[in-house]
């Protein structure tokens, strides 16, 4: 790895992203350390997806730098991506392929050697040993998420990006995923999580960045954010039950207007 143990796994510094004349991301900076779950929260169109796409190396930044495990995503994209595991919102696998074929494909393109018995153990670990021959679209939503997350972790990356991973999951599957995320944190993975669920952010994130109109407007632990803003008039007016929650802080800081 191209870094020391005290360095952050992900370093985003002064990131600017433009779409034509429109600036979607404005001087965004944050770090994710190993063994940390970092939440990136923001209303629709706030710049989360653009930031995430730039971290994934899919969108070239107009200014600023992004390093993953010490590798610049623009100068050493393959090495940076090799240190990255990504779980996307969309289905994102060829529907004709079986679960085993998908695992083999991603093992191959991440330089992970996987024998037949190792593949069986891999699937058994995510409780899908009987689904090896099934097509991905024949799996339930929870099973698809398990496959997707397991593939993101296949090459044991130091940084894992989870893009709204619990959307559409039932409470049991969601809890199970939170436990997996906590296990990953214990193993030293840094996790960058985007979510619209304040409950999720409060439950699993060590630190949170709130992004709005392309700018990071607050970065702290969920508890500190609540403490720091509990007396803000906008936050108090957003509160529904008297008790100030992270959601109240989020709405207080980003406004009540529904974004498209």
């Amino acid at each position: 790895m191209n870094q020391t143990s005290s360095d952050p796994i992900l370093q985003v510094e002064g990131l600017d992203i433009f779409y034509g004349a429109f600036q979607a991301v404005k001087k965004v900076s944050f770090q994710v350390k190993g063994g940390e779950i970092f939440g990136l929260l923001g209303p629709n169109g706030a710049g989360k997806t653009s930031t995430l796409s730039a971290v994934e190396g899919l969108l070239p930044p107009n200014a600023g730098s992004i390093t993953v495990a010490g590798y610049s995503i623009t100068e050493n994209p393959l090495y940076a991506r090799a240190n990255l595991g990504v779980q996307l919102q969309s289905t994102s696998f060829q529907p004709e392929l079986s679960v085993a074929e998908i695992v083999r494909l991603f093992a191959g393109i991440h330089a992970v050697t996987m024998r037949k018995d190792e593949l069986s153990a891999f699937l058994a670990n995510i409780k899908l040993e009987d689904a090896a021959g099934k097509r991905f679209n024949q799996l339930s939503g929870g099973q698809q998420q398990r496959v997707s997350l397991a593939i993101a972790l296949l090459h044991d990356p130091p940084l894992v990006l989870l893009d709204e991973p619990t959307t559409g999951l039932d409470p049991q599957s969601r809890r199970q995923l939170w436990e997996r995320m906590e296990e990953m944190r214990e193993k030293g993975h840094g996790i960058l999580l985007t979510t619209h669920s304040m409950e999720e952010a409060e439950a699993v994130c060590d630190r949170i960045a709130i992004i709005d109109h392309g700018k990071v407007i607050a970065v702290d632990t969920p508890q500190s954010l609540v403490e720091k803003h509990r007396n803000d008039p906008e936050v108090v007016s957003a509160s529904r039950k008297g008790k100030i929650t992270l959601e109240d802080v989020f709405i207080g800081l980003t406004g009540k207007t529904v974004r498209s």
Binding site: N2, Y71, Y79, L88, T91, E96, L105
Partner: protein, 250 residues
């Protein structure tokens, strides 16, 4: 921890295995691609003496190539782009060109298959035989011609992001190409249309394949058709690559 990235050959091996498995699972579409040229071979049996064996084979191969580039390739690219398949692959430590190279290799095998089936069907149904050199050059011409339709498919997925719209557009272009192409070349749509078809992607590909299958008939017009075909490929490929977006939502 040491950062390991896969060798290009290992990455390509994995991509090719997955892409060929996908193609194998889509056997019905593959069969349909092969079926249209075979139906023409059977239905044109009575025209072989009049039109010439090489012309009949060339027409069937051209129609097969149309289906590969316009129906198979472009639709699979549009669908996978929409589903986020490319996004997922592109965050892996593999160069983006290898993802597209693997897709194109599948289509090259399809071109080989269509040409083989047309040669075998031409012999079986219509007793058409050509020289060994003609068969060899026929494969070469099929690859050159196939490139035009693959790059045209690339233009369509470059211009249109919605997979359903890509599908409809490709069907329309395919239908126009084969109907206007076939009937126009036979002079059934008038002289002007016939001349336009002659230099269209359909007509130029048809003529170079026909010329290769019967090398003794190759003339200056065929050389011009070859140059036009290469020109179409360069223009379409440049436009298709320039306009192509890996993500249908960007």
């Amino acid at each position: 921890m040491q950062t390991i990235i896969p060798s290009t050959s290992d990455a390509l091996k994995s991509l090719l295995r997955a892409d060929f498995s996908t193609q194998w699972r889509n056997r019905r579409a593959v069969i349909l691609t092969l079926l249209v040229p075979v139906i023409i071979l059977i239905s044109w049996k009575g025209l072989v003496d009049k039109l010439g064996g090489a012309y009949v084979l060339a027409t069937c191969i051209t129609i097969g190539l149309n289906a590969i580039g316009l129906m198979g390739y472009s639709n699979s690219i549009a669908r996978d782009r929409d589903k986020g398949v490319f996004q997922r692959l592109r965050v892996a430590p593999v160069p983006s060109w290898s993802i597209m190279f693997s897709r194109l290799m599948v289509q090259i095998v399809m071109i080989l298959l269509v040409t083989l089936v047309v040669f075998a069907g031409g012999y079986y149904f219509d007793q058409i035989t050509i020289t060994p050199l003609g068969y060899v050059l026929g494969f070469v011409a099929a690859f050159v011609g196939g490139a035009v339709y693959l790059s045209l498919g690339q233009v369509i997925v470059g211009l249109i992001k919605n997979p359903e719209t890509v599908n409809v557009t490709c069907r329309l272009v395919y239908f126009v190409f084969i109907m206007v192409g076939m009937f126009g070349q036979l002079g059934m749509l008038g002289k002007e249309v016939g001349e336009a078809v002659k230099w269209s992607p359909y007509g130029s590909v048809n003529r170079i394949i026909s010329g290769c299958l019967k090398p003794e008939t190759w003339n200056q017009q065929t050389t011009w058709a070859l140059l036009v075909t290469i020109g179409y490929t360069i223009v379409f490929a440049t436009m298709g690559i320039k306009w192509f977006k890996w993500n249908s939502r960007s």
